[in-house]
């Protein structure tokens, strides 16, 4: 039984941990542009042209 409570508490902890991570991502602008990065990875490095 106590292991069950422990898991639930750990669940809550992990939930809020990732929520915090998400807040950090949004606040630092990593979610501002969701289109370009997926394209950009296919462009070769300008310096190697």
């Amino acid at each position: 039984m106590s292991i069950f409570i422990f898991i639930l508490l750990a669940g809550i902890l992990i939930f809020f941990l990732f929520l915090g991570l998400l807040v950090w991502q949004v606040k630092t602008g990593q979610m501002d542009d969701l289109v370009t990065p997926s394209e950009k990875i296919l462009w070769e490095d300008p310096k190697n042209d």
Binding site: G11, F15, V26, D32, T36, W43, D49
Partner: protein, 769 residues
């Protein structure tokens, strides 16, 4: 019979006739891109480029602009954000991010394809206008939209919406997982402590969604209550509140009936719907100072009564009266016409008109902020759109009202009966939750908006489709919309043999190149091939013609009046060319009707009342009307921007009007019309004022837009019909006790997913989903 050879422009792919490019702008861009070694760009393209619009950028160096738009960074660098309206495919991003390779003063460019913006970091000692010119050279027309302060405010707001949605989704998924244990417990039995523990965890996890993410719904509901009306937000807030409170009580008492997952799902799906539309809408707004300075060049610090000189090539900075000098001015911002008009002492001139001829002096009559152009631009933000109630809004009202009544009735019934059926009550709320509506309509709109963008059509908001589908009259501007604003040689009549023609052509071409008159530019375009014969004693009589000598002969190029010949009967624009007083050639010039204009007008006339408004003279307007097969009383001439707007007001009594135009002079009408469709030109005010903006001057797109708007309307109606059927069925099953809250909570996302799949799979515009 002329053999029709038609090439596609090598830059933008528009039909270019016999030449390789459709315009000088495209040719310049193509050559510049190749000269930088970036020719590979053209192989990467996945959609046509927009036609190059050549703009002027000197005004970007004005302090009003630089302080608002340029941010100083450390190390002698500056940063600015530009809107490139023609940029949306990855190839453009590839080219632009390589800018530092061919333009060393640009240190870094960062492209945001989603919002068509580019962040540029450049050397502070280089003028801001050079940045604009560089992007213009490679084929884009950069526009300054929001000053830094507004832009960062919008960015913060965007981030908040993303965060709200993401938090709600996280809560929803987590609480669903926790609830699995309860679902399993339903079958196997579970001891009370465990149920209580799971319930409490579920409660804690749903807190961020209920108390942070859902705040906009509460605000919306509160606003509706204050106005003594009701809306979707009210129903949503009520569902959230009841669902949450009931579940919380049960959780604390250790009872199995908790529905935090359904409550959080409601919040998450509705927010997701709003976010998706927000991302695909292009709500572009342009700063007033930009619009004004683009036309004026500088802000004059002049008071009424001051006398100020206006040089050739400069825009009049104020409204005034000419006191000294004669000249020609281009008042395209007022009339839409490139054809210059003459001014002499006593004539009034308006700020924003361009002095093409010799220097003049004017006496200022109005202070800067009261000039006609300033009034026009401030008018843009004050005009209210004609009210058109959106049908999904009406539908929403009815749905919400009926659900609320049902829930209220049910509540009193259960209360009077004294039965403990209140969980059934909550089931009704959850099953009628407008997820399908809150998610399907956004899905339809965002899909259509994205497909439009791929066709080079920028649509500012989803509601534009509904407005378009309801409209029944179309008003066109003439010049620049139905006709091109450039002049073309329609007919030429050579009075000499081929050999002599060959001798005179270079002279003719180079001579025409000397003049700034737009009519002569038709000759330059056709006959100037880079040869520059040594012409001497060139003298231009403004608005009339040129005279010059070459190898001992004297030449005249200009109107009939200039060559002292009797004027012709018909109202044609003619250019005559003579050598030593002997007439050699007669050209007839006209601005050309776009090839698609006739079929477009013919097609629209079947379903719409079609009108034409033009700032041009009577004869030219009637001629165009005849060519387009338009009744003369529906073709209005010599219209000012204010008159156009007033005319729309009178049309509103009978019609819902779509305005199609291209310039500053149409922008008031754009704002006033139910829908304003702007054809991409050089003026930013078009982009600011219109609801739909075509990045390519292709009139066929207008028909595509109308077709798409009807498809969008149909899809929305289908989705709503599905939502109704689903809700009625669901409510009935709940009332008869077949569906518990648990099954409702499962069915809810299922219905949403089906409608979303349907909505996103449809093709609204040609050319792929």
């Amino acid at each position: 019979m002329e053999v029709a050879v038609s090439h596609a422009c090598k830059h933008c792919g528009r039909p270019a006739g016999t030449s390789l490019f459709c315009c000088a702008g495209c040719e310049g861009a193509f050559e510049f891109i190749h000269s930088t070694g970036m020719g590979e760009f053209y192989n990467k393209l996945s959609k046509p480029l927009s036609t190059v619009k050549q703009k002027r950028f000197e005004y970007w160096n004005q302090p009003q602009i630089t302080t608002a738009f340029v941010k100083s960074l450390q190390g002698g660098l500056s940063q600015a954000e530009l809107l490139l309206d023609g940029m949306s495919c990855p190839a453009c991003g590839w080219l632009i991010e390589r800018a530092p390779l061919f333009a060393p003063f640009i240190r870094k460019t960062e492209v945001d394809l989603g919002s068509s913006k580019v962040k540029v970091i450049f050397d502070s000692h280089c003028a801001f206008s050079e940045v604009g010119e560089l992007f213009n050279k490679i084929g884009y027309a950069p526009t300054l939209t929001d000053p830094i302060s507004t832009a960062s405010f919008k960015k913060r707001q965007n981030r908040q919406w993303i965060l709200r949605t993401a938090v709600a989704l996280a809560s929803q998924m987590a609480s669903m997982h926790v609830n699995y244990t309860l679902y399993a417990g339903l079958l196997d039995g579970m001891n009370t402590t465990m149920v209580k523990a799971v319930g409490l965890v579920s409660l804690v996890i749903s807190l961020p969604a209920v108390f942070y993410s859902a705040v906009p719904f509460y605000r919306g509901a509160w606003n509706a209550l204050k106005l003594k009306t009701w809306n979707l937000d009210l129903l949503v807030s009520l569902s959230i509140a009841l669902g949450f409170v009931a579940s919380a009580i049960n959780a604390l008492r250790g009872i199995n009936d908790i529905y935090f997952d359904a409550v959080t799902m409601l919040i998450a799906f509705l927010l997701l719907g709003r976010l998706v539309v927000m991302f695909s809408e292009k709500r572009i707004s342009i700063d007033k100072n930009v619009l004004l300075l683009e036309l004026l060049g500088t802000m004059a610090d002049a008071k009424p009564g001051d006398i100020i000189p206006v040089k050739s090539g400069q825009a009049f900075p104020c409204d005034g009266t000419v006191t000294k000098g004669k000249s020609l001015i281009n008042s395209a911002w007022l009339t839409g016409e490139e054809m210059p008009t003459q001014i002499k002492p006593g004539s009034s001139v308006y700020a924003g008109s361009l002095n093409l001829g010799s220097p003049v002096e004017i006496q200022v009559t109005e202070p800067m902020e009261k000039t006609r152009i300033a009034n026009l631009i401030s008018g843009l933000s004050n005009i209210k759109k004609g009210e058109l109630s959106r049908f999904s809004e009406k539908f929403e009202k009815i749905l919400v009202a009926s659900v609320l009544l049902l829930v209220l009735g049910l509540g009193t019934f259960y209360f009077l009966e004294g039965k403990s059926l209140w969980m059934r009550w909550i089931s009704v709320l959850l099953v009628t939750c407008p997820c399908a509506m809150g998610l399907a309509v956004p899905a339809v709109l965002s899909t259509a908006l994205k497909q439009a963008l791929r066709r080079g059509i920028i649509i500012k908001g989803g509601e534009v489709f509904e407005r378009l589908a309801q409209s029944d009259a179309v008003v066109f501007d003439k010049t620049g919309t139905l006709t091109t604003s450039e002049f073309e040689i329609e007919n030429e009549d050579w009075l000499i043999d081929a050999e002599e023609k060959l001798r005179l052509l270079p002279v003719l071409g180079w001579a025409a190149h000397q003049s700034s008159h737009p009519v002569l530019s038709a000759l330059t375009k056709k006959y100037f091939r880079g040869e520059k014969p040594a012409l001497t004693q060139i003298k231009e009589t403004l608005g009339q013609g040129l005279e010059f000598t070459y190898q001992g002969h004297s030449y005249q190029l200009g109107s009939r009046k200039f060559l002292q010949l009797p004027s012709s009967k018909d109202n044609q624009t003619e250019i005559l060319f003579s050598e030593d007083g002997i007439l050699k050639n007669v050209f007839v010039v006209r601005s050309e009707i776009r090839s698609e204009a006739m079929s477009l007008v013919a097609a629209l006339k079947k379903r719409f009342s079609v009108w034409m408004l033009s700032g041009d003279k009577k004869a030219a307007v009637k001629q165009t009307a005849d060519l387009l097969n338009l009744e003369h009383q529906k073709a209005l001439y010599e219209q000012t921007p204010e008159m156009k707007m007033e005319f729309l007001n009178t049309l509103f009594e009978h019609y819902k009007v779509v305005m199609v135009g291209d310039g500053v002079n149409d922008s008031l009408a754009f704002k006033k019309a139910h829908v304003g469709i702007g054809i991409g030109g050089a003026a930013s005010s078009t982009l600011e004022a219109c609801d739909v903006y075509l990045t390519r001057p292709d009139l066929n797109l207008i028909q595509e837009i109308f077709t798409a708007s009807h498809k969008v309307k149909k899809s929305i109606l289908l989705c709503l019909a599905w939502a109704v059927v689903y809700n009625v069925l669901g409510v009935m099953l709940v009332l008869y006790g077949f569906l518990g809250p648990l099954v409702c909570a499962v069915l809810m996302p299922l219905s949403s997913l089906t409608v979303v799949a349907f909505a996103t799979g449809r093709k609204y515009f040609p050319g792929g989903t």
